[in-house]
C-alpha cells in the first residue's frame, strides 16, 4: 500500500501552477501577473510568424484572451507557458492565412530544402563581432538574417534557442515530431550561422558586402 506515487511535479511545483489556480478561483489580478510575465515572448513568437507588427499585436491580445476563456480546458499536464504558446502559434497562423486570403498556411512550409544543411563558409568570426555595429544596425542584421529562413525553421529556432523550451516542448507546441524538431533546429542554426558569417566573418568588409549582395550561400551547390 506504500507504492502510491506522488503526482509528478508536486515536489517542485512551477510557480505558474499556483497563479493558474488563483485565476480559476476568480482572481483576475493573478492573470495580470501571467500576462506581464509572458507578453514579450508571445509578442516575439507572433512577430516571427506573421512578420507584421499589427498582426503581432492582435495575436498577442487574442491569445491572452483566448487562454483566459479556455483556462478550464488547460489540463495542467503541460506547462501553462507551452499551452499559451500553442494558442499564440495557432492564432498567428490564422492571421497569416487571412492575409493570404485563405491560402493554406502550415508549419511545414518551405522546409523541403537542402539549402544551408552543409556549412560552406569557414571564416572565423572576430571576438564579439556584434560590437562592430550599432544596436540598430545589429537589430537590422539579425532581423534580415532570421526572416530569410523558412518559417518552419524560424519558429523552431525561436522556441528552442531564444525562448529556451526543450526539444519535447517545442515538438508538442508545434505539433511536430521530436526528430522533425531536431532536424529543423540543426538546419536553422547552420543557416543562421552561415548568413551571419557574411557580417561577422574575419575578412575584408568589401568582400563581405559583395557576398551578401550577391545572395551568398547556395549559389554553388
Amino acid at each position: 500500500m506504500s507504492t502510491i506515487q506522488p503526482i509528478a511535479g508536486t515536489d517542485e511545483q512551477h510557480p505558474d501552477v499556483a497563479l493558474v489556480a488563483r485565476v480559476r478561483g476568480g482572481d483576475v489580478a493573478a492573470y495580470d501577473t501571467l500576462v506581464h510575465k509572458y507578453e514579450r515572448q508571445i509578442f516575439r513568437i507572433a512577430q516571427h510568424i506573421t512578420q507584421n507588427r499589427e498582426d503581432a499585436e492582435d495575436v498577442m491580445q487574442d491569445a491572452f484572451l483566448k487562454a483566459y476563456e479556455k483556462l478550464d480546458q488547460f489540463q495542467g499536464n503541460s506547462k501553462f507557458y507551452t499551452w499559451l504558446v500553442r494558442i499564440a502559434v495557432n492564432e498567428s497562423l490564422m492571421r497569416l492565412r487571412k492575409r493570404r486570403t485563405g491560402k493554406l498556411v502550415s508549419m511545414d512550409e518551405d522546409v523541403q530544402t537542402d539549402e544551408g544543411s552543409v556549412p560552406r563558409d569557414f571564416a572565423d568570426w572576430a571576438p564579439n563581432p556584434e560590437q562592430n555595429y550599432t544596436q540598430s544596425e545589429l537589430a537590422e542584421i539579425l532581423k534580415k538574417t532570421i526572416q530569410g529562413l523558412p518559417q518552419g525553421f524560424r519558429v523552431v529556432f525561436v522556441l528552442r534557442d531564444v525562448d529556451g523550451l526543450s526539444t519535447e516542448e517545442t515538438a508538442e507546441t508545434l505539433g511536430l515530431s521530436v526528430p522533425a524538431v531536431k532536424s529543423r533546429l540543426l538546419r536553422a542554426r547552420l543557416q543562421l550561422r552561415e548568413r551571419l558569417t557574411r557580417y561577422f566573418g574575419r575578412r575584408a568588409p568589401a568582400i563581405a558586402q559583395a557576398n551578401a549582395a550577391s545572395g551568398g550561400d547556395g549559389a554553388e551547390a
Binding site: 500576462v35 509578442f43 516575439r44 483566459y68 476563456e69 556549412p119 572565423d124 540543426l186 550561422r193 551571419l196
Partner: protein
Amino acid sequence: MTCTEFLQILDDVIDQSIAAETRAEIEAHLKKCGHCEVVLNTTRKTIEIFRCHEIYEVPAEVSQRLHTKIMDRCKKAR
C-alpha cells in the same frame, strides 16, 4: 570521426548532451579540423547573439494599451 559525423551530432555538442565516451572523439576531431571548430564556435555564438538581442521589442505604450484591453475584457468575461 569525420566532419559529416561531427555535423550529425553538432546539436548535441552544443546542447551538451554528449556521452562521455564520445567527448574524447569529438575533442580529437576538433584538434585536427579547423573548419569544424569554426562551425562549432560560430554556431554557439549565433545562438548567443539571438538570445541576447531582442529584435522585436514591444514599445511600453503598446504593451500598456494591450494590457489594459486584455484585463478589461477578462474582467467583463467573469
